[in-house]
Symmetry: C2
Subunit: 555 residues, 2 copies
C-alpha cells in the first residue's frame, strides 16, 4: 500500500534554488576562511556517546539524538538480565537452605549481596568487569538487595522449589524493568549519538590527532549538526554550523582577526551595516566581584543579558530575587546608563572596575582589540562594546562575540563566538586556549532573502535546451550539446522525442518553466545545412546560426 510521504518534524528538503542559495553562502564564507589561512577538517556525523554526553549541560544531553545499537541489542541486555535473575534466585534458594537457621537479617543481606556478585562472576565469565557493569548496572544489583522484600518472601514461602523461585525471579526482573527509566536504558542500548555542535568534535579531533597537527591550528568546519529541540520558526532539528577556530594560541591578535573575518564575510555577501558586539568574561566577573556577587556570576549575567528585552527595572528585580544585595545593584547604576562610543564606554568601565584586578584585565583586552580594529578599519560592519553580552558563559573565558543583522531586520544573532581557555582539557590535553566564531547559515539566508541580496545568477541551471524532434535529430543535436559542454555551457537535449505535433509545445513549456534562456531547434533542413535555429526565450527572437556562432551567442 502506498505510504503518504513526509519528513520528520524539524527537518527540511531543499529544492534546487534553495541548494544554490545555500551553496552561495557556504562558498562565500569558505572562501574568506581560506583567505584568512584557515584549513578545513571534517568529523563523523556520529560520535561515541561518551564524547558528547556531559558536555552541554543536562538540557543539552537531553537534546542529543541517540543512535540505537544495531543487532540484537536487547538480547544482550534483557535476556541476560532475566537469565541472571534466574540464576541468582536459584542460588539464593540454595543459600537459604543452608542458612535458614540464622535470624540476623543484615548478615543475610550481606551474604545475598556477596552471593549475587559471585553468581554474576561465575555465570558470565566471558564478560569483562566493564561489560558487567554496563549490562547489569547498579540498579540491577540494588533491586536484588532490597533485602526486606526478598528475605521476607523467602521466609514466607518457606520452601524453595523451582516454581516459586522462578516466580520470585520474574518478580525481581519485572521490578527492575519497571523502575528502569529511559535515561538508564539509553546508556545500555545506545553507544553512538549525532553530533550536537562542531566545537566538541573539534576538541576531540585536536586531542586525538595532536601529534599530526602543527599548532597554532587554524581550522574551519562546515557540517550539519542535530538537536532534538522543539522545532519552531527558524529553529530546526538538522542545521549547518560554519565554524572557524584557532587553537593553541592566546594571542589577542586572533580576536582582531575574527572581527575582520566577520566584516569580510558579511561585506562579501553584500550584507552591510552588521554590528559585531563584543564583551569579555573578565568584565562580567569583575562586575560581579565589585557588587559582591562573585558567587552568583551565572545568575547575575543571565539577568543582565535580559536588559534589552525586559528593561532595567525588571533586571534589577530579578537580581534582587536571586539574592544579589541592593547595595551591589546600586553600584551597577553606571552600567545601565553606559553610552557613547567604544572608548567612552571603556572609560566608564574603568571607573566601575577600578577595584577588580580581573575586571581591569578585561578592559585591557578590549582596549587592545578596539585600538587594532580602529587602526585597521572595517569595511561594512561596526564594532560595539556590549557589557550585557553573556552567551555561552559556561565555556567562554575571554572575549565574547555576537553579530546582529543590519538595523531594521528582525532577526536574532547571525553569528557568535568567543575564547575558551581550556578547550581540550576534558579530553586530556590541558592548557590549550581556543578562540572561534560561528556563522548562522539559516538566519543569514533569511536576512539575505528579506533584503533581496542573493545575486540573480545563483540558481543558473541549464543555459541551452535542444528540442527533441526525433532520434535522427537528437543524435545530431547531441553532437552540438557535446561541443557546448566542452565550452563550459550547461546544455541538454529534451529527453523525450516529439511523437505528435502537440508535444513540441510541451518541450517549449518545460524550457519556459525551468527558465532556460535559449532553445535550439534542429529539423531536416537544419541538419542538411548544418545550421541551428536559436530561439532567445526572453525576447522571442529566432535566428539561424552556425555551431561556432551558437557557442558565442549563448556564452
Amino acid at each position: 500500500m502506498a505510504q503518504k510521504p513526509s519528513i520528520p518534524k524539524g527537518t527540511r528538503d531543499f529544492n534546487p534554488e534553495q541548494v544554490a542559495k545555500r551553496n552561495y553562502i557556504f562558498s562565500t564564507i569558505k572562501s574568506q576562511f581560506q583567505t584568512f589561512g584557515f584549513q578545513p577538517i571534517e568529523t563523523p556525523s556520529f560520535e561515541n556517546s561518551d564524547t558528547l554526553m556531559g558536555k552541554y549541560g543536562e538540557e543539552g544531553d537531553r537534546l542529543i539524538f541517540k543512535i540505537l545499537n544495531s543487532g540484537d541489542y536487547l538480547e544482550k541486555y534483557f535476556n541476560t538480565i532475566q537469565k541472571i535473575a534466574n540464576e541468582v534466585v536459584l542460588g539464593l534458594g540454595q543459600f537459604f537452605d543452608e542458612k535458614i537457621s540464622s535470624n540476623e537479617k543484615s548478615e543475610i543481606a550481606n551474604n545475598i549481596n556477596h552471593k549475587l556478585k559471585e553468581l554474576i562472576d561465575d555465570n558470565f565469565k566471558d564478560l569483562s568487569n566493564d561489560e558487567k557493569n554496563r549490562i547489569f548496572g547498579e540498579d540491577f544489583i540494588s533491586s536484588f538487595i532490597e533485602k526486606s522484600t526478598i528475605v521476607t518472601k523467602l521466609l514466607e514461602i518457606g520452601k524453595f522449589d523451582e516454581n516459586s523461585l522462578m516466580s520470585l525471579s520474574k518478580e525481581i526482573f519485572s521490578n527492575y524493568i519497571s523502575k528502569l527509566n529511559s535515561n538508564k536504558l539509553t546508556t545500555k542500548i545506545s553507544e553512538k549519538a549525532l553530533r550536537y555542535d562542531l566545537t566538541v568534535p573539534f576538541a576531540r579531533y585536536v586531542v586525538q590527532h595532536q601529534n599530526e597537527i602543527d599548532f597554532p591550528f587554524k581550522r574551519y568546519q562546515m557540517q550539519p549538526v542535530w538537536r532534538a529541540d522543539r522545532p519552531q520558526k527558524g529553529r530546526f532539528r538538522e542545521f549547518y554550523q560554519c565554524d572557524a577556530d584557532v587553537v593553541g594560541s592566546d594571542s589577542l591578535w586572533q580576536e582582531v582577526e575574527f572581527i575582520q573575518l566577520y566584516d569580510n564575510v558579511f561585506t562579501a555577501l553584500g550584507l552591510k551595516g552588521t554590528t559585531i558586539k563584543i564583551n569579555n568574561r573578565k568584565i562580567l566577573s569583575g562586575i560581579a566581584e565589585v557588587i559582591g556577587a562573585s558567587d552568583k556570576l551565572i545568575d547575575f549575567t543571565v539577568a543582565l543579558d535580559k536588559l534589552d528585552k525586559i528593561g532595567e527595572e525588571k533586571v534589577k528585580e530579578e537580581m534582587l530575587g536571586k539574592g544579589i544585595p541592593q547595595s551591589g545593584i546600586d553600584k551597577l547604576q553606571p552600567l545601565f546608563s553606559l553610552s557613547g562610543d567604544f572608548e567612552a564606554q571603556i572609560e566608564s568601565l574603568k571607573g566601575i572596575l577600578s577595584t577588580s584586578e580581573e575586571g581591569k584585565k578585561g578592559i585591557e583586552e578590549l582596549d587592545f582589540i578596539n585600538e587594532a580594529i580602529s587602526s585597521l578599519g572595517l569595511q561594512s560592519a561596526k564594532l560595539q562594546l556590549d557589557v550585557t553580552l553573556a552567551r555561552g558563559l559556561n565555556y567562554y573565558t575571554g572575549a565574547i562575540f555576537e553579530v546582529s543583522a543590519p538595523e531594521g531586520v528582525k532577526m536574532g544573532s547571525i553569528g557568535g563566538g568567543g575564547r575558551y581557555a581550556d578547550l581540550t582539557g576534558v579530553f586530556g590535553l590541558k592548557n590549550v586556549s581556543g578562540v572561534g566564531i560561528s556563522f548562522g547559515l539559516d538566519r543569514i539566508y533569511l536576512v539575505l532573502e528579506e533584503l533581496g541580496l542573493f545575486p540573480e545568477t545563483i540558481a543558473k541551471s541549464t543555459e541551452v535546451m535542444f528540442i527533441n524532434f526525433g532520434d535522427k535529430e537528437a543524435l545530431f543535436c547531441l553532437k552540438a550539446v557535446k561541443s557546448l559542454r566542452k565550452n563550459g555551457i550547461n546544455a541538454e537535449l529534451y529527453p523525450d522525442k516529439i511523437t505528435n505535433g502537440k508535444h513540441m509545445k510541451k518541450q517549449m513549456n518545460y524550457a519556459n518553466k525551468r527558465e532556460i534562456p535559449f532553445v535550439v531547434l534542429v529539423g531536416e533542413e537544419e541538419m542538411n545545412t548544418s545550421v541551428y535555429t536559436l530561439k532567445n526565450m526572453i525576447t522571442g527572437e529566432q535566428t539561424k546560426v552556425s555551431l561556432e556562432t551558437l557557442i558565442t551567442a549563448v556564452k
Copy 2:
C-alpha cells in the same frame, strides 16, 4: 577524568589535505552534473522509519541506523504496559469472582480477551487506536490470552487478594518483556532512521513535491549515507554518495547521456582508461526464459555474476545446485564464450535470444545505445557489453551500468547505476520511470591516490605568512595582510609574538611544516621605510620589496 578520545568504528576524521582532495572530486563531479543540466536537491539526514524500512530487503533493514525517540520513551511504553497489566489482572480477579462457577475454559478465554480490550479502552481513553496498537502491540495482547497459564494460575490460587494478583501481573509483564526482541522494541522506541542511500529519499522527495517539479526532473544529490555494515578496508559506516538521476522519461537518450557523463567526469579527473560496462535486465530475463529458468531469475543471475571470480565450471555447478536443468545450462554455452567487440557480442546474443521477445527488446535497447555512443564518441572511457552484470537486480528493469577502474588498478566498481521502471510507486506515484548513476567517492579517491592523479595545488592553504615580531610590527603587518587578502591571496600573521630570540625559529618552522611558500619579515627598519622583507621558503632567497611588488610576487 580525561577520556581517551576515539571515534566510532567505520567512521573517519578527515584532515585538511583529505578534505581538499575530496572536495576536488566533489567539485569535478558537480561541475559535470551541472553542465549536463542536472539540478541539486538535498534531503534530511534522517527520514521517518517507515519511509526507509522495507525498501532494501531484510538485510538492508538490519543495516539501517535507527535513532532513539527523545524524551521519556520508556515511560510511554514500559510504564504503560505495567500499568495496564495491573489493571487487567485486577479486572480479571473481579471477573473470576463472578464467573467462578462456570467450567467452560474457552468461554473464559474469550471473556478474558474481551475484558482486556475493554480495560485498555477504559483506561487509555486518551490514546487513538493507532497509538494503542503501537504501545501494546499484538504480542502484549497474546501474552494475556495465553489462557491456560492465567486461568490455571487463578484457579490454583483460588483467591484474588491484591497481593497475589499483583504478583501475577508482574509475572505477565515479565513474560512479555522477556519475549520482546530488539526488532519489536525498535519499532516502539524509534521512529526515525539515518538515510541508507539517496535513491529512496529521492523517490520520496519526488512524490512529496510532485506539484512543484517540472518533469522530466534531472536532479543530482551529493550527501552522506549511513550503513551499519561490518567495517572493512574501503567499506565505511558513513560515506558519501554522488547520484544523478532523471525521473519521468523512458527515453533511451538518457542512457546515452549517462555514459557520456561518466566519460566526462573521469576524463576531467584525469582518470583515463575506465571501462563502462553495460547490461540490460531484459537480456537476463530473456536468457532465463530461454533456458527454462524464468522462475529462478535471481538464482541464475547471482550465479552468472560470479563468472569473473569463480570461473565457468563453478558457475555451472551453482546453477545446477539451484535446480536449473542441465539442458538449459547447455544452452548457455555461447554465453560463456561471448567475445569480440560490442557488435559481435550483440550478434551472438541475437542467436541465443531469438525465441524471447523480452530478450530481443533488450538487444534493441543495447543496440540503440551503442550506436549513439559510437557516433558521439567517448573521450577516455570505453563502453563494454557485460552480460554477467546484474547488480541491484531487484530494482533495475532496463539498463544496468557499472564502471571499473583502468586496468592494473585493483579496485571494485567505481560507479554504477541503471533504470528502474517504477521508482516512485511505493510512495503512491505510479508509472514514473527513473534512470540514474552513482559515483563511488571513496574508491575514486583511492584510485586517484594510487595513480598520483591529484593536482599538486589542491591543498593550497596559506600562501604568505608574516612573522610576528611584536605588537607594533603585527599591526603594521596586518595592514599588508588585509591588502593581500583583498587581492585574493591567502595570508596570515603568525598568532603569537616573539618573546625571546628562539621563537623566531619556531615561527619559521611552523611555516615550513605547513608548506607555506612565502614568509614576510617586518622589523623596525622595514616599518620606517615601508618595505617588506620577502623570503621564498623554497629557494631561501630573500628580497626587500614594496607592498605592490609583494602582491605581484606571491600571486
